[in-house]
Assembly symmetry: none
Homo-oligomer: 253 residues x 2
DNA sequence: CTTGACCTTGACGCAGCGTCAAGGTTTATC
DNA sequence: GATAAACCTTGACGCTGCGTCAAGGTCAAG
């Protein structure tokens, strides 16, 4: 089966221009050029294109894709891990942006004068970013690369089964939280179960567990609007309830 | 307090080029131009620049910033809310990417050879895309839209575990096909086992199974160069042998 | 008066294509 | 066998938000 540019374009969902560009930069050359100068692609090229598109969907640059695909000695797993780290950073950055935008909106609606608020937010935003930059190094220094890497590795290395289990646990947790919240008592048996579930869930992503850290996290949930938004979306007012339940469970209240 | 470009640049942390660019696109004009043609900025411009940089940190485009800042009638809150929605979408997209990268990494570390895994993934994609493109209309006419859509959904929604199992089955299948082909007899016991394996494999992606469809697929394999290329790559001349084995298995020959 | 720091206006480059433009080829139709 | 429609080619500009020369004018210090 042979294809001209637009045939292959339709087949793969990209544009003809894209294919000519890939030819131009040497990412995907046609199998041959016919007597009229038309590009002719064969099965091999279709397969290659599929691979390229797969990596492209992961937002890997075409240059890196060339490395991954053309150099068989290239360590693809490392490249992917590297890319994963970049995505994580991007998401952390996005989370910051969203928090700032949220705050800006609510302050605007709250009637605070734009000028002051914005200057303040801009200042804060800078601090967040700087801290982010510093934080990583600092933590590595404090706890050592091993701890940080172990934590990352645990998350990354999680098998599909474990991931699935974690997801199920998460759903179970929210369902329990909803029921427990209905009782209104953070010290109730149900609430204790919720806290226990939460601990179980946590341990999927934490390299080690301590009561203090768990309690700290519970407080952070309430303090951080992103988390309250997250938990309250599932169970209205659930964040504070959850914190109280956890503190109770840990015997810290 | 008056500043030349680089003075203001240092003050605000952006480059001189950036300021000249902002002047060029009309985002931030200097207060005046002195007799030598130098750009001179005043306090008002400093404040404006701060606002601009604030919005820029939120990853709002310069064009939108112009709207927000220059048009007092422009509803800034709505613009921010709109932007917030975009950020949410971006984050959801990022989450998807991260999940995919994670899965790819763990499956690679699980020891599956890259080649096969990727080809298989590509094949899966192709099954959906190509089938839709080329046989979509035909099949949809024959079996109805519901059947086709269900099949695609089943393939796409397949869990990593199921996909893994399907992958293993596929390898088993090819190994059997190789052995059976060596016997030369599409009616041999081995060949029958191959056909059975193929059916098993198929049922991972087909919402329902029928002898007729299975036989039709076998014929299609031979008729379509893409499939013959795929099967023959593993076992030379294997496509026709596979068809015959399947037809035999189904008692249709 | 020279040196060096700082200013100016172009203009190209980056990633990954979209989008004409001007012209050759193939296919279908009359 | 002519003609139109459809499909192919290369070339080149445009988009975003600047970084980075290049070539030349200006200004304060030695």
């Amino acid at each position: 089966m042979e294809y001209t540019v637009n045939k292959l374009a339709q087949l793969s969902g990209v544009s003809g221009r894209t294919l000519r560009y890939y030819d131009q930069i040497g990412l995907l050359k046609p199998a041959r050029i016919n007597s009229s100068g038309y590009r002719i692609y064969g099965q091999k090229e279709v397969d290659l294109l599929q691979q390229i598109l797969f990596y492209r969907e992961l937002e890997i640059s075409l240059e890196e894709i060339m490395n991954i695909i053309q150099d068989p000695a290239f360590n693809q797993t490392d490249a992917l891990k590297d890319h994963y780290r970049k995505l994580m950073q991007k998401r952390a950055h996005l989370d910051n942006l969203m928090a700032t935008v949220e705050k800006t909106i609510s302050s605007k609606e709250g009637g605070i004068t734009m000028q002051d608020k914005e200057k303040f937010a801009a200042f804060k935003e800078k601090m967040i970013d700087e801290n982010e930059q510093k934080y990583g190094d600092e933590v590595r220094e404090k706890y050592g690369d091993d701890t940080v890497n172990a934590s990352n590795a645990k998350l990354r290395g999680m098998s599909e089964e474990a991931f699935q289990a974690m997801n199920n646990l998460g759903e179970e947790f929210f369902s329990l939280l909803e029921q427990a919240y209905a009782t209104g008592d953070p010290a109730s048996d149900l609430a204790q179960k919720v806290a226990a579930k939460h601990k179980e869930w946590l341990m999927y992503s934490w390299p080690s567990y301590s009561k203090e850290a768990h309690a700290g996290l519970a407080e952070m949930y309430v303090a951080d609007e992103r988390f309250t938004a997250y938990y309250d979306k599932q169970v209205k007012g659930g964040t504070e309830f959850l914190r109280d339940a956890i503190l109770n469970y840990l015997g810290m209240k």
